[in-house]
């Protein structure tokens, strides 16, 4: 039985994605099915893509 309380320390929430997982800005069911780490990786990728597109757009302007 665990003895720690609700305030126990959060463990490493930046767990690596399983190998061979392609993360695209569009996302996938596979990423959703990975749960928290999948969502985090997908949103990170999406943000990177948006910033990249914004940067390209600005450069073009």
């Amino acid at each position: 039985m665990s003895s720690d309380s609700n305030q126990d320390n959060i463990k490493n929430s930046d767990e690596e994605l399983p190998k061979n997982y392609e993360v695209t800005a569009q996302g996938s069911l596979g990423l959703l099915a990975l749960g928290a780490v999948g969502i985090k990786a997908w949103r990170k990728k999406r943000k990177e893509e948006e910033e990249k597109q914004l940067k390209t757009k600005k450069e073009n302007e």
Partner: protein, 845 residues
Amino acid sequence: MSKRLAKKVLVIGWDAADWKIIHPLLDAGLMPALEGLINKGAMGKIATLDPPLSPVLWTSIATGKTADKHGILNFVEPDPATSDLRPVSVTSRKVKAIWNILTQEGFKTHLVGWWPSHPAEPINGVCVSNSFQKQSKKPDEPWTMPKGAVHPKDLEEVLAEYRIELSEITSAMLLPFVPDAAKVDQENDKSLFAIANHLAEASSIHAASTWILENKDWDFMGVYFDTIDHFCHGFMKYHPPKMDGIPQEYFDLYKDVINSAYRFQDMMLERTLKLAGDDATIILLSDHGFHSDHLRPKKLPKEPIAPALEHSPYGIICMAGPNIQEDEQIFGATLLDITPTILTLFGLPLGKDMDGKPLLQAFKEDVKPEYIESWESVPGECGMHPADIQEDPWAAQEAMNQLIELGYVEAPGENKQERLQKTRNETDFILAKVYAGSRRMEPAIEILERLYKENPDVARYGLKLAHCYQVTRNIKGLRKTIDELRAKNLKELPHLDFLEGTLLLFENKPRKALLMLQEAEKSISHMPNLHIQIGNVYNKIKRWADAERAFKTALEIDMNNSGAYHGLAISYLRQKEYELAADAAFNAIGLSYHFPEAHYHLGEILYHMKEYKSSSEAFNVAITMVPGFKKAHQWLIKIYEEHLNEPEKAEQSKKFIKDQIKGSITIVSGLPRSGTSMMMQMLKAGGMPILTDDLRANDDNNPKGYLEYDDVKKLAKDKSWLVNAEGKAVKIIAQLLQHLPDTYTYKIIFMQRDMIEILQSQQKMLGKNTSVFPMGLADTFAKQLSKTESWLNGQPNMEVLYVNYKDVIMNPEEQAENVNAFLSGDLDIQKMSEATDKKLYRNKN
């Protein structure tokens, strides 16, 4: 504390998951995570409870108690703050859930998405309520997490990050569900929106649960998904094979949705199992199944909780873990067994007030569960809310909108009061169904009689009331309700024919019953229970081949119907088709293990196949389920003495019968002059031993003799003479029946006759003027009969056959046949019918 069998337990709820969809996917290798779980554990069907409403069921799963005890009775409940309705909240649960018990015992306990679990309970761990994932219906407003969705509060911000908003779902995620999504007319068809909604909500629950598994220690975790249920309610009508009336265009677009939903659920399962680890004990279950074949209703009635008609009665259960049997079938599981099973896995005692049992057959080790009176009286902090908790009404309203969209809740009218009253009625109706579903007919009938009286136009109240009268064999009530419903000329008429057919069977009119059931068959031939009842009639009148056909028809409609297999087994048995009978009996047991009559008949079949050892095993299972099953004991005595040479075991059954099982007495009853003497004469002529002292000689009123026993008159004061009646028939008038002790079992042949005829006959016998009808006496007798009949309904040791005097006079052979069938005897039917005399029917009305 008993031995702990599980280090940690993970319960995963898949609402509405059904083996009928899963098996083909497993065969095609499309649900690898579930396949892995099945391969290293035990699996089976799990019986749902009636009514199959998810919040009611998941609370029974979490408490081990029926809904009348746990208090969650509907999708909605009144909100005292607004005088309107709100989605049912966890604060309405009256008893401790498994996570409260485990919290109280110091286990680290997490819960995600359970229905209902909002507002999140302050358990010893993380609680993410069923409002956490709900999508806002106002696209222009920010999507905020409902207050109270997460416990502890310091995790609200962290977990809110893992909620997936509807707008985030992309075409890449939708295409596996609808490959031709581009063809969807999104102006008029909101199906893609619904799929995205279900995906966003499922992913939110999954993300929260995986985050907890990754970041928190745990002993117990429960995760619930409504995903499959919601997909099924929206898209099962498009699942192959194509249903009549579904446009080809829609079928082509959405035929893959259901399989894709299951596959997505399996993908999420793979991740969950990986995070849970090999040392976790997994329990994966659904609360009910979902019709996916020809049993899919073509149209749902416009009434509350109508979508539940799409649910099928068996869900799935899989268990795997260090102390769980591998490659084992689980038989006879019900939703009420889950909490007792979890408590046993943690080495904790069961509450005697729980309605389920632990699934010990799934464990590797022999376990003897310990019991306490109730967990409710065990003191200590258990993580339930204080009584005065308040809820965010906006969060509740959002969830309510979804329920309205799903069709579970009537769209709000202008009159809140009327809506509240309607919901109150429906909640009471559900409570009545809960009582009826657990065979507590008295409180069910009390509620239904009131509901039907106050709402005479709501046919389903009347139909359910009639059904309860049918179960309790309240013939008068059933007749009255059927007549009232018929007078309303309702569209439910075929169901009335079905009920009336059953009524006629009770009234000992199997041939008329058959005609009525065949009439019902013209309109509701899709109902397996109708064919089962037809089969039962044929079995009763010994038309075994016809019975066989009827049960086979029931099985063509529903191949998982244990009652149909049981009836089929009996019809084969009586035709001496023992191999086929055995197959059918095994099928009945496989589908519904707790089926003592099926085990009994299997024993009889195996005996005829000379499989004496197996036969004894089947009879032993029957008496394990029903210890007082006298006929099973009698078979065992015969087998042990005559075939297995195990006299000591035969002796055990003999001793049990002698010490524990009450003797059986046949009673002929009714009002004086209702035909009781005639029935006694029939029984005597048929070869039945009669208890009579012949003190009362025959006379003009009864030229063939009264066949009475003088001590019967003092039954209220002296019951010692009943020992002389064991195995015999004795005449006891209706008014004295209530003095019978419960130390015996009784088969009562209750004679019924027109009251005017009875009283005229009595007047004549007493030498009174037969032209003066004693109205007051008629009223009193009618009340006494009604009271006696209701009392008989509640007596577990009394079995009653109602026989109409006139029917016996008109069709003596048919009635003799039925009496013989009721007594399971070998009476001489010809001699019985010859004992009647039409000439003695002198007082006709």
